[in-house]
Symmetry: none
Subunit: 252 residues, 2 copies
């Protein structure tokens, strides 16, 4: 449950980042923001960056230590810039695996995702308190994500984990209107009209008609014309027939 | 190849977002930033937000139109805030599916991911030029991602896709042929040829040409014609022109 997932910012230096965090959280459906010893808060810069997420910002809870902020959590994951090659023997999780772990556990109990101070990140002492370290895979030559960006990516992965994410293309066919697509017989009349027109304008002659029509059918099947579009195409065919001196034949 | 994936920002209002885009790109291993009519650039705010990604920022290319920026691209994906429930019948892809599609195609040819102006997003005219629309799943009550956040998420998904592909064996036959899809400029010549032909056969006359062409662009973008298919369509147009007494004009 996203409502059981707590985002904790420790010792944040720029209040703008607190506002950006609130906005990033709300866009992904999270709401529980906790601030440990923020250096400037409340602050107009935070309000400005929060934009439409002022509710998340104003409901943020302030704590004087990480211990207090995570006291009631069963799982705590700290974000770390340390590369997976680091000598640290603590369990590192990719961003998506971290999100999965937090989401599973959040069904039963509050869980926390912790972000350190902008330049320093989490201290070793703070990392000791985390069950896992979340690591966002980044360009080894410049892995320096802005803290707001890191928060946005992890909140995005949390949302992905929370909705059963479909990796398939969302095709318009998924929700077709009752009358928006032509019946197969209308489609067939269109193909007859198309073949007739291609013959009238002498395109189908030197080539094997079957092959041309097969390729055109494949093309139009991919496009899946709507009824309105099919009518427009029929109109174009009739115009081409008229222009070629043949009486426009709509095959109806 | 991440190096073949172009990030295009159109008409950006806040130069800080251009800098943030450069930083987001570099952290995820992208480098090809293109700016279409930025409102303030270069600008110290852009430099400040770019942080360690000044190289990406200073190498950014400026264009006066989207057409120029995507002329040599075989796949163009536009980002859209439109929900999946929108009545738009254009193919929407989730962020990760968009990244996969761009990465696969980038092996053969430059591809582009396009972001619109901060408040307005991409115009309908700009969206017409895109094969797919990338949609970041977000909180329906507040889906308002900052443009820098949207760029960070999509660059993150592009990196994830590139790591995934480098791990999995890519079958050569699974890859489209280098010449299987037309470049955007070839597609634009086709649309010019189509509009000219529709005028020659007197189809475009009683109707508003812009609307007809807009509907045809949408139809053909959904079909995404291959180069062979586009050549066949060009041949049909020339035949229709000849039949209507106009000398076939291939616009080349």
């Amino acid at each position: 449950m996203l409502s059981n997932i707590r985002i904790i910012l420790i010792n944040t230096f720029h209040p703008g980042n607190i506002g950006s965090a609130a906005r990033a959280m709300k866009t992904m459906g999270l709401s529980d923001l906790c601030l440990v010893t923020p250096q400037r808060y409340p602050d107009p810069d935070a309000d400005a960056m929060a934009a439409g997420a002022m509710d998340v910002l104003t409901n943020a809870r302030i704590f004087s230590s990480l211990d207090e902020a995570i006291a009631d959590c069963s799982l705590v994951i700290g974000t770390s810039a340390r590369s997976r090659n680091s000598t640290s023997n603590r369990p590192m999780l990719e961003a998506d695996a971290s999100a999965e772990a937090l989401l599973k556990e959040s069904v039963n109990c509050p869980v926390a995702l912790v972000f350190g101070q902008e330049t320093m990140g989490l201290t070793n002492e703070e990392l000791e308190k985390c069950h896992f370290h979340a690591c966002i895979d980044a360009n080894p030559d410049y892995p320096v994500l802005n803290v707001a960006s890191a928060i946005q990516i992890l909140c995005y992965e949390l949302r992905k984990a929370s909705v059963h994410f479909s990796r398939t293309t969302i095709q318009p066919q998924a929700q077709p209107q009752a009358d928006s697509y032509p019946l197969q017989e209308e489609l067939e009349r269109f193909y007859q009209h198309l073949e007739q027109t291609l013959t009238d304008i002498d395109f189908i002659i030197q080539q094997h008609p079957g092959k041309v029509m097969k390729r055109l059918r494949r093309l139009f099947n991919r496009a899946r014309p709507e009824s309105k579009e099919l009518n427009m195409l029929r109109g174009i065919l009739s115009s081409a027939q008229k222009a070629s001196g043949v009486k426009g034949n709509t095959n109806d």
